[in-house]
């Protein structure tokens, strides 16, 4: 029985705990990792329940799930990196026939690095900040066979760094971690992990902290290394699209339980479990036209409104910051217009100036040149007090709902704050308005007396949106409002936003790095890079007929299941 069929059998049974024939037949690759009935608990709280799966040698297996699904915990159990004393794992995890969970530490330690390599999630915090890369590389090279000389070890390190795409290894080795970019650090981490040529590489969200274009290059690198070094890959990801593109088989997890498992092609094209179906439907990259109906309402409005003049007009805006005597141009001659009732997306990677653009639009920064008009009123060059009247119509939703709500306030007061500030209506009217706003974003009234701490990320972001809505504004500026949230929560929020737009005719400025998401909800797009406009146009123009190379690079980095390589 081929491993893929075996996984199929697992999933078709509806549960992944079926008996699996242990013997490997001739021709089929032997099983490298075999997890059976794994349960992990933290201080009595079970976070992983009865998880079983196999990873055949040379294959790529993805564990997919949202936060709290237990996917990272499984990876940590396999690596024996659960927090000492708190995390307890039961069941078996066999790597090359040895049970990782029961092996004494002195027998497991030789496996670390040499057999099981690990690529952690956040490159910025995964190297010791007070030691140079070189000194940590020497430590990593200790895993190489013992008969190598010092010079040979150094040579091996240099070679592996070149191999992972670092052109100037000596300079990298002389640097401290904080002197390198996230992409370079992630390459260093991968280099360290593959240096002793392990049989298995566990990659825990290896790209979630990186920009999209770099994300693609890192994933390409992992694929390339797997092919050339014959390494099996266990990929932990929250992104079904990435898994669909990069893995041979997937295990879908929710709340620590396997929902579905099988070959990628089948799970991503025809999921059988409810959760996998929903997850599939929620991933923007796999469903570009999910909200077409709602979006068409705005598009129709756009066609009608073309002669009224734009709701937002940004013309020739520039902003330069002086940091440590050097000038940094954050925004350079930026222009765009947004018709009333539509969504305009500003797309760019980190450092593209998209956040500065928003701050200029909101009047939090003053541009050096150019003009900004919202609903016919000038924004630039006016004081906080003068902008007060405009602010009633121009609202903002922050990227991170974990920092944008005062932790000492309750939901009711948080949502009511704008009404109180602008002294709108009587006490009863305000209370009614708060309830109405909560209804609009689909939040239950029972949450009124809660503080942000007692809310989930999605609930918090809904509170933030309700707060922006309660003044009945015309324009809402959204700064990556879903990037801190799980995809299913993101889908809910997007649904709420588009419904509100269709009903109330709101105008959105939506800032994002996520092109797939932009495609789902925007009408017009401006692509920015290093503070300048690269390209602008309607969603159809940008996505179907990009004119600029940079736009094409961005589009290429959207994971694409249908063009994913299979091996």
């Amino acid at each position: 029985m081929a491993p893929q069929d075996r996984l199929n059998a697992l999933s078709e049974g509806g549960t992944a705990t079926l008996e699996v024939p242990p013997a490997t037949e001739a021709g089929a690759p032997p099983v490298l990792v075999s997890v059976r009935d794994l349960c992990v608990s933290y201080g009595g709280h079970q976070v992983v329940s009865d998880v079983s799966f196999d990873l055949p040698r040379g294959h790529r297996l993805a564990l997919i799930g949202e936060s709290g699904s237990g996917k990272s915990t499984i990876a940590r159990s396999l690596l024996r990196l659960l927090p000492a004393g708190v995390g307890k794992a039961r069941g078996t995890i066999e790597v090359q026939g040895q049970d990782v969970l029961t092996l004494p530490e002195r027998h497991f330690r030789p496996l670390r690095g040499r057999t099981i390599g690990f690529v952690p999630q956040d490159p910025a915090s995964s190297l010791n900040p007070v030691r140079t890369i070189g000194s940590q590389a020497r430590e990593a090279s200790a895993l190489l066979p013992g008969d190598l000389s010092k010079a040979q070890r150094h040579q091996a390190v240099v070679e592996v760094l070149q191999r992972v795409g670092l052109d100037d290894p000596e300079r990298v080795l002389a640097s401290y971690p904080h002197q390198l970019s996230g992409g370079m650090l992630q390459r260093v981490l991968i280099g360290f992990a593959v240096l002793p040529e392990p049989a298995l590489l566990v990659a825990d969200e290896p790209t979630s902290a990186l920009d999209v274009t770099i994300q693609k290059r890192i994933l390409d690198l992992l694929d390339e290394l797997r092919d050339s070094l014959d390494i099996s890959l266990l990929l932990i990801t929250h992104d079904l699209a990435i898994a669909a593109e990069r893995a041979d088989s997937v295990v879908v997890l929710k709340d620590g339980r396997v929902q579905e498992a099988g070959p990628t092609a089948r799970v991503s094209s025809a999921p059988t479990s409810d959760y996998a179906k929903r997850l599939h439907a929620d991933v923007p990259a796999l469903n570009p036209d999910r909200y077409a109906d709602l979006r068409d309402v705005g598009a129709a409005r756009r066609a009608r409104a073309s002669d009224e003049g734009p709701k937002i007009a940004v013309r020739g805006v520039s902003k330069t910051f002086t940091v440590d005597r050097s000038r940094l141009t954050a925004v350079d001659d930026l222009s765009f217009e947004v018709p009333a009732g539509t969504t305009h997306a500003i797309v760019g990677e980190s450092g593209s100036g998209k956040t500065t653009t928003i701050r200029l639009l909101l009047g939090l920064e003053t541009p050096d040149a150019g003009s900004i008009e919202v609903a016919g009123e000038r924004v630039d060059g006016r004081t906080h007090g003068e902008l007060r009247s405009l602010r009633r119509h121009l609202q903002f939703v922050y990227q991170n709902p974990f920092t944008s709500l005062d932790p000492t306030w309750k939901v009711e007061r948080l949502v009511r704050e704008p009404l109180d500030r602008f002294r709108i209506g009587t006490k009863d009217e305000r209370r009614a308005a708060v309830r109405e706003a909560l209804d609009a974003v689909g939040l239950d009234q029972t949450l009124l007396a809660r503080r942000p701490d007692a809310l989930s990320g999605g609930q918090r972001q809904r509170v933030a949106i309700a707060r922006a809505l309660v003044l009945k504004p015309d324009v809402i500026v959204l700064d990556e409002p879903t990037s801190a949230l799980d995809v299913s929560v993101q889908a809910d929020i997007v649904q709420v936003l588009l419904t509100l737009q269709a009903e109330l005719g709101l105008t959105y400025v939506f800032v994002s790095h996520d092109l797939a998401l932009v495609r789902q909800l925007a009408h017009t797009v401006t692509v920015v890079r290093r503070g300048r406009v690269v390209e602008e146009g309607t969603v159809a123009q940008i996505f179907d007929a990009p004119r600029e190379d940079y736009t094409r690079t961005l589009l290429d980095s959207i994971p694409d299941a249908h063009h994913g390589r299979t091996s």
């Binding site: 201080g43 990227q399 920092t403 944008s404 005062d406 990556e480």
Partner: protein, 289 residues
Amino acid sequence: MTTITTEAPQAPGGWKPSALRRGGGSRRVPPVGVLLSFTMLLLVVGWSLAPGLFTGQDPARGVPAEAFQGPSLAHLFGTDHLGRDEFARVVHGSASSVTSALVAVAIGVVVGGLVGLVAGFIGSWVDVVLSRVVDVLLAIPSFLLAVVVVSALGFETINAAIATGVSAVAVFARVMRSEVLKTRRAVFVEASLLLGGSRWHVLVRHVLPNASRSVLNLAVLQFGLSILVIAGLAFLGYGDPPPASDWGLLVSSGKDYPLAPWLVYAPAVVTIATVLSANRISRWLRKTD
């Protein structure tokens, strides 16, 4: 790079299980140690409010025939060289020890809090000036400063309390200032400004409530430390003279009788237990934040 305030997105699926995060400090059921600490502090406050309820003995009346008796049921902490009940003296002395510590903390919170608030919120040259003043207060060793202040004001327990408070001003000012700065830069404060909030509104409704958490926690810690400083001053004889029975003074007079060690250990243990309780509670408050 620039003055952009957006945070790095929280990567979904961080490995740390939510159970761990939740398990850390549940606000509803404090651990046993914390409950014991609260009991201890309540007991001490009870002693200082109504000492008569806890001991029937007169702390000032000595029975010479009963001098230097070891701890027993009749005299929990034994008796001193004049035959006075040591337990009664500790209980009656707590009023002045506890009150002085509270006075000291109050001075620190009010003066230091105000200085830190003004410096952090107004900023610019006001901050520069006030920060240097705070630096001065920090630079002078707090116990030495307390000794100088108490010698300027006169050797009384209340002056020792004031002196301790003065030496605590700097710490409160610094914590308040950094909390205010932190909160002022918080995203939710900018959000409030965008929603039409005035600076005053932001200060009173957002900055103060958020900053006060850390200040409260520091106040509890400082209560314990103040007890230590005041005990030290009393030990050196800079508080009320005998027959007052401040804990530090009791230790000081007890040390002259090495054959009656309970005269040192009883007040010392009470002091340690009180300070330890304050520390424990402060630690717990910090965790549940």
